[in-house]
């Protein structure tokens, strides 16, 4: 076992993991944050997306032991209890999800995009979500949700 110190959603945590443990499993099993989903385990689907030091990553492709010292944000860290982040609210209002499996990854990816580019082009939105596979919505509602979030966040700023 290796002791790993991380800051998760603003809170310092210590976990003991085998080097072979994937970050997605450590997040769910050791940190108890099950909003991060296990999908393909090949780095394709994006359901396991978390942010490490601000950058989105697919946590199935990261060894938990490599996260020593990292700041990790999961979907649970987007908004306070009972509230919704503007991106979550936009996905709710625009029906940007159906089954919800891909949703945590979509939300984190959308947040990273809008922090980098508050007024993204349609092409930039498409490029941003091409690592998050959704098999329900056909992406129209996803892209509409991100556009809605961008507009609201700019108006609110």
């Amino acid at each position: 076992m290796t002791r790993v110190n991380v800051t998760v959603n603003g809170r310092a945590r210590e976990i003991d993991v085998e080097p072979a443990k994937l970050l997605v499993h450590a997040v769910r099993e050791d940190l108890g944050l099950t909003g991060t989903h296990v999908g393909c385990l090949t780095g394709d689907c994006g359901a396991c997306t978390v942010r490490i030091d601000g950058a989105t990553v697919k946590s199935c492709s990261v060894l938990a032991v490599s996260a020593e010292g990292a700041q990790i944000t999961t979907v649970e860290g987007l908004a306070g209890p009972g509230g919704l982040h503007p991106v979550q609210q936009a996905f709710w209002d625009e029906f940007g999800f159906q089954c919800g499996y891909c949703l945590p990854g979509m939300l984190l990816t959308a947040c990273e995009l809008l922090e980098d580019d508050p007024d993204p082009t349609d092409e930039a939105i498409t490029l941003a979500v091409n690592g998050n596979l959704c098999r329900c919505t056909g992406y129209h509602a996803v892209k509409r949700s991100i556009r809605c979030a961008a507009d609201r966040m700019r108006e609110g700023s």
Partner: protein, 266 residues
């Protein structure tokens, strides 16, 4: 999950990396986007994993002689945000599929060493005439990109060596072109062409169409000339689930022509 335990090392510098590799049986993790899923699915079962993420190998620098040194763990995102010294590589980085999560983690060196025929970095390095800087406890050697890619998923790198950097002989300047054919937004490419203007014409490297990237020199973007030159080098086209070799043989010259068209307009 990864079902086999392994020893894990994340050395703080290149010397630590080469020491950890000296036993010769380690698997190197750069960004992890390919190797970690391979471990999950049992395609590789290392006893030792050496993680490069803390070894300080990322970033672009220019030498006094004008060469551009691209650190092996430079990510696609780093190229997009600060890749002015390597505009062709930056262009490639912008189109890498898999989303920002992959662009944030995937590395130039990792793509080169994994040597997937469908990866885009190997052909771009070939077009640029890059040298691959390999370090081991025995010392440092450089191998031309043209000699580095020895087959599908195989390279000239020895088990105790790490790719520390790729060296671009000169900034590639504005005269380059790039084109990629893929059939869906999140697909691997089926064929790529990177072209860089050189003294004898365009250096055109074809990616995705054979086990290794292929280099041709094109004097002019005349379609008959391009078709003949591509056909001359593309003797054993690559087949996989995306496309069979015959399809790749047909599209390769078209992809090359589109890259050349962009290059000539640059």
């Amino acid at each position: 999950m990864i079902t086999r335990d392994f020893a894990y090392h994340a050395p703080a510098d290149l010397g630590g990396v080469t020491a950890a590799l000296a036993g010769g049986d380690a698997v190197i993790v750069g960004g992890g986007t390919m190797v970690v899923p391979d471990m999950t699915h049992g395609r590789t079962t290392p006893g030792v994993v050496v993680d490069l993420s803390r070894a300080g190998l990322a970033g672009l620098t220019q030498t006094a002689g004008g060469e551009v040194v691209v650190g092996a763990t430079t990510t696609y995102t780093q190229l997009l945000r600060g890749g002015e010294l390597a505009p062709l590589l930056r262009r490639v980085a912008g189109g890498v599929t898999g989303g920002p999560q992959i662009r944030n983690k995937g590395t130039v060196g990792g793509s080169a060493c994994y040597a997937n025929p469908s990866s885009e970095i190997p052909a771009a390095l070939l077009a640029l005439g890059a040298r691959m800087r390999l370090a081991s406890a025995r010392g440092v050697r450089e191998v031309a990109a043209a000699d580095f890619f020895t087959g599908a998923f195989t390279t000239e790198r020895r088990p105790d060596e790490v790719l520390a950097a790729v060296v671009l002989p000169s900034p590639d300047g504005p005269a380059f072109g790039y084109h990629k054919l893929k059939l869906s937004e999140s697909s691997w490419p089926i064929a790529t062409a990177a072209c860089v203007r050189g003294p004898g014409g365009w250096r055109v490297a074809l990616g995705g169409v054979a086990a290794t990237p292929l280099l041709v020199t094109i004097e002019s973007a005349d379609p008959r000339h391009v078709r003949a030159e591509v056909a001359r080098v593309l003797t054993e086209p690559w087949s996989d689930v995306l496309a069979d070799g015959d399809y790749r043989r047909r599209v390769a010259p078209v992809v090359a022509l589109r890259a050349l068209k962009e290059g000539e307009a640059s």
